[in-house]
């Protein structure tokens, strides 16, 4: 927005907290305005009192070490110099192939350039990439889609071949390639730069699951299957490399990080589920193959059941969530059949029960930085259901999720009736068959 | 237990649910009693009514396909045959080196034998293992310790060289080896076979963190640092290979799996923490380097703060916990300093607050399959605090964790004041310096 204001003819200074300095500079550069005026205050601004913030204003800019207000005033009044007036246009390209080198040096290069997750990769040689490309009949130069690490960054574009390169690195086999292309085409990055440390969780449905031997049984959400592991990791690596990076302080700002970001993809246990599969609920046919991308992984609550006190347990989990991120329930078939026996003969019935029982006092709902930042403006603008939630008195108990936001998937090895309630908004869906 | 009864002269039949058939047979074999009499009922027994269980008894053994009671009665009465009387004694050994082969074939062999997490590894060649061994002063044949997937399996022993082999596979560098050896020596497996899908989370303290360039900042619990990633993965791979495997249905029974099992190790941000580091709390000197292993990863609750309603939020998270597994809190330094401003000037004070505020009605506390299986017998035997919890009336609120079970670690990049409450029972804190 600061760049748009400058183009409107309004001299502007953008204020950030100091941990965002590198990111703010990189964004200004990609905007073609590398000399954008930026001033910095200490981190955090959230939860600081008015007096503390006044102290920031009267104190020093932690990046320039000069008084903050002097930075701001000079940013608006000091005449532009020659360099400011130039602007900066440039083409950025990435080559198709790297300089030939020894395997050892290439492996080191991939680490040093932040092209990996710091675990060993398979080097994407011409021969291996060619073999991967046999996994689809689409041409190597076809554009698959675009990705970016955050809404305020620019989109990068990529082709089938570039996806194949990252699939090789992750250790994938050519037969997994259509699933990986579908994930890349979803438009959702698995490497969000959000300070919230989001990860994505991908669910695969339809015949492709069995064709490539994916796991929906024992250890389904863990390191126990080649296809699950490699597909999840390929999606992660392609996200970081095809969107322009995921480098701490620059293109990644997650404060705590998220171990789900190594690899988190699995297949629904359609054959052992009492309910309709996820992709069919979303409009695909049972004999079609599809991927669904859940954006979240912020919290993971756990339970068993349904036992005698299952309602209390489920309500406790639903009210302990981070309320900006709706839950995805993953039920072991034992738990799913247990709920079906209680009368939840459709996923939708259990979803409705969860929406009905996910409640918080309005006071607690609104006392959350993401709800303040992202939902409050909508509420003020009259958008429902946020507007009603804002009208509630502080002690009123309000519903915090809509049924449309909640999803259920059945998976597990039936060694116990476990369930997980994982933070995950369904952000993307794509046909796998379109990429075969 | 069945084997011990047989040895005491009591003919015995062990009853399992069908999903445990492969595990039960291989455990019997390792016990030297391969012909142990076993009968099977359908899964699950948990949450089934008396009537349903009666039909299991009057029904068919799902493994032998013969009537269950017939299996049981014949198991106790049918005379032993020649083969039964032999018993089986045998030595099992694993070779030091594999048969030389092409890299491609060796990579395939590692995957087929379940020696990996299904992501690419570095092949443990003689040269690379020799290089890795330079990371410690200890002899390759020194016994490091022993590991087993669960308490009813037998321990396997491990040497420095075997640990080095797995460290190479994980992509570790020689300078990480002392940390990896310390984790191996902890006696805790990172590949528990529990149906609950436990993982381990390892926290590194002391000077070694900076010597190795470990991450305690942005993305600390994610794929953003070579040492964090490789050490966590080395611990996971060595656990599965040096304990005798982690194969679904045999040596791994986790129903839903756990993505933390790929790699989950990080360094405490000692320099940016307002509190004493974890290893110092556990009796080490600040200048010592130590590794702490948390066994859990079952739930991960998330929050920010401390904000105005922080007490409600933390209480909700505490009461939504799977209460067999105590929480450890990972606080971003921003959140940690926020708690200090509220008067929690020591970790212990915040731990005390959590223990006092982790409350559940006794009815809910006892309605949990792990609490029933593992804690109820202790309560009946009079062991505190469980006996007192059992004396509480169903609606009475009881404290579900003791302060000594709860831990706090400070880590994060200060891009937001986030915290996580992760299921994790501190099972060991071990010296790293002993393995340099």
């Amino acid at each position: 927005m600061a760049a748009a204001l400058e183009l409107d003819g309004v001299p502007t200074v953008a204020v950030h907290t100091h941990v965002f300095a590198r990111l703010a500079r990189a964004t200004a550069l990609a905007n073609g305005m590398p000399r954008m005026r930026q001033s910095f205050v200490p981190q955090p601004v959230v939860d600081r009192t008015p007096d503390q913030l006044r102290g920031y204003i009267e104190g020093a800019d932690p990046i320039s070490k000069r008084p903050f207000v002097q930075e701001v005033i000079e940013g608006l009044t000091k005449p532009l110099d020659q360099e400011d007036l130039q602007g900066l246009s440039f083409e950025r390209t990435t080559p198709r192939l790297l300089e030939p080198d020894s395997s050892e040096n290439l492996h080191r290069l991939f680490f040093e350039n932040h092209w990996t997750d710091f675990l060993p990769v398979v080097l994407p040689t011409e021969e291996r990439v060619e073999r991967m490309l046999k996994g689809t009949k689409l041409p190597a130069d076809k554009v698959v889609g675009r990705l970016r690490p955050a809404v305020f960054r620019e989109f990068w574009e990529f082709t089938v071949e570039k996806v194949a390169v990252n699939a090789v690195m992750a250790g994938a086999r050519p037969e997994y390639f259509p699933v990986i292309l579908a994930l890349a085409a979803s438009g959702v990055t698995a490497r969000s730069s959000s300070t919230n440390s989001f990860a994505t969780i991908s669910v695969v449905n339809g015949p492709i699951r069995n064709e490539i031997g994916m796991n929906s049984g024992i250890g389904v959400m863990g390191p126990y299957n080649h296809a699950n592991a490699a597909i999840g990791r390929a999606y992660s690596l392609l996200s970081q490399n095809l969107q322009g990076g995921s480098v701490p302080g620059e293109t990644y700002m997650g404060s705590l990080g998220n171990w789900y970001a190594y690899s988190a993809a699995f297949a629904e246990a359609e054959e052992r589920s009492p309910w309709e599969p996820l992709h069919v609920q979303k409009g695909f046919k049972p004999n079609e193959s599809a991927v669904c991308v859940f954006f979240g992984g912020w919290y993971t609550h756990a339970g068993y059941g349904p036992r005698a006190t299952w309602q209390e347990k489920m309500r406790r989990c639903l009210s302990a969530v981070e309320q900006y991120s709706p839950p995805l329930l993953v039920l072991d078939p034992i738990a799913a059949c247990g709920f079906a026996e209680l009368g939840f003969d459709k996923k939708q019935k259990l979803i409705d029960w969860c929406a009905e029982n996910a409640r918080l006092p309005a006071r607690e709902y609104w006392d959350n930085q993401w709800i303040q930042y992202l939902n409050r403006p909508r509420a003020v603008a009259g958008v429902e259901p946020y507007a009603s939630r804002l009208r509630a008195k502080p002690d009123d108990i309000i519903q915090i999720f809509e049924p449309e936001e909640i999803n259920i998937v059945v998976a597990g090895g039936e060694t116990q009736g476990a369930w997980k309630m994982i933070s995950g908004a369904l952000r993307g869906m794509a046909s796998v068959d379109a990429w075969r | 237990m069945a084997a011990s009864l047989e040895q005491s002269g009591v003919p015995t039949v062990a009853v399992h649910t069908q999903v445990f058939a492969r595990l039960a047979k291989s455990a019997a074999l390792a016990n030297g009693m391969p012909r142990m009499r076993q009968a099977f009922v359908p899964q699950p027994v948990v949450d089934r009514t008396p009537d349903q269980l009666r039909t299991y008894i009057e029904g068919i053994d799902p493994i032998s396909k013969r009537p269950f009671v017939q299996e049981v009665i014949e198991g106790l009465t049918k005379p032993l045959q020649q083969e039964d009387l032999k018993g089986v004694s045998f030595e099992r050994s694993t070779p030091r080196l594999l048969k030389p082969d092409s890299e491609e074939n060796l990579h395939r062999l590692f995957v087929e034998n379940h020696w990996t997490d299904f992501l690419p590894i570095t092949l443990p060649t003689e040269k690379r293992v020799a290089e890795m061994l330079k990371g410690t002063s200890h002899a390759p044949d020194k016994i490091v310790g022993q590991l087993r997937p669960t308490y009813f399996r037998e321990f396997w022993e491990l040497t420095v060289e075997k640990v080095a082999v797995n460290a190479v596979m994980a992509g570790a560098r020689p300078e990480y080896l002392p940390v990896i050896l310390a984790l191996a020596a902890s006696g805790i497996t990172a590949r528990s076979s529990s149906t609950t899908s436990f993982a381990t989370i390892s926290v590194i303290n002391g000077p070694i963190r900076n010597e190795l360039g470990m991450n305690s900042g942005i993305g600390v619990m994610g794929p953003y640092n070579h040492a964090n990633a490789a050490i966590g993965r080395a611990y996971a791979l060595l656990s599965q290979n040096l304990q005798g495997g982690s194969v679904p249905g045999e040596t791994y029974m986790g129903s839903q799996g756990n993505w933390y099992a790929y790699s989950a190790t990080f360094a405490e941000a000692e320099e940016r923490s307002p509190w004493e580091p974890l290893h110092v709390q556990k009796g080490f000197e600040p200048t010592d380097s130590a590794a702490s292993v948390f066994f859990g990863g079952w739930y991960t609750h998330a929050g920010y703060g401390p904000r105005a309603t922080w007490q409600d939020k933390v209480r909700r998270c505490l009461s939504a916990a799977e209460h067999y597994s105590p929480p450890f809190l990972v606080l971003d330094p921003i959140a940690a300093r926020g708690f200090v401003e509220l008067g929690f000037d020591k970790k212990e004070k915040l731990i005390e607050w959590c223990a006092k505020n982790a409350l559940l009605p006794a009815r809910e506390y006892w309605d949990n399959q792990h609490i029933q299986t593992l804690i109820h017998p202790l309560a009946v035997a009079g062991v505190e605090p469980y006996a007192t919890r059992l004396k509480a009336k169903p609606d009475e609120l009881i404290e579900i964790f003791e302060a000594k079970q709860i831990n706090i670690v400070v880590a994060g990049g200060e891009t937001q004041g986030a915290w996580k409450m992760i299921s994790g029972d501190l099972r060991a804190t071990v010296s790293i310096d002993a393995w340099r």
């Binding site: 532009l80 991939f110 040689t125 | -």
Partner: protein
């Protein structure tokens, strides 16, 4: 000498960067209207109010006005038009 391997570059294709000029700066802020744009990030409202009070106390001739976009992270052309019409400069924060 180890065998040389040719590997692909794993990165995608970045868009072209088109240089953009900054707006001309003001001679000074005397008697000017400066919009303080609250980016809606949690607590930036409080920060901007403190900045407004700072102007009122230290540079009272400056008319510092707080303004908010409709949504976080989304361009708001109406708001920008108002700033361009009625204001001389903008301070935007806290956040992107």
């Amino acid at each position: 000498m180890a065998e040389r391997v040719t590997a692909h570059d794993p990165r995608g294709y970045p868009p072209k960067v088109t240089g953009k000029r900054l707006a001309s700066r003001l001679d000074n802020l005397e008697r000017k209207t400066v919009y303080l744009v609250d980016c809606l990030f949690d607590n930036s409202e409080v920060f901007m109010e403190q900045l407004r009070q700072w102007f009122a106390a230290r540079l009272p001739s400056v008319d510092a006005r707080i303004i908010k976009p409709r949504q976080s992270w989304v361009d708001d052309p109406d708001m920008r038009a108002r700033i361009a019409a009625d204001g001389s400069a903008a301070i935007l924060g806290v956040g992107l």
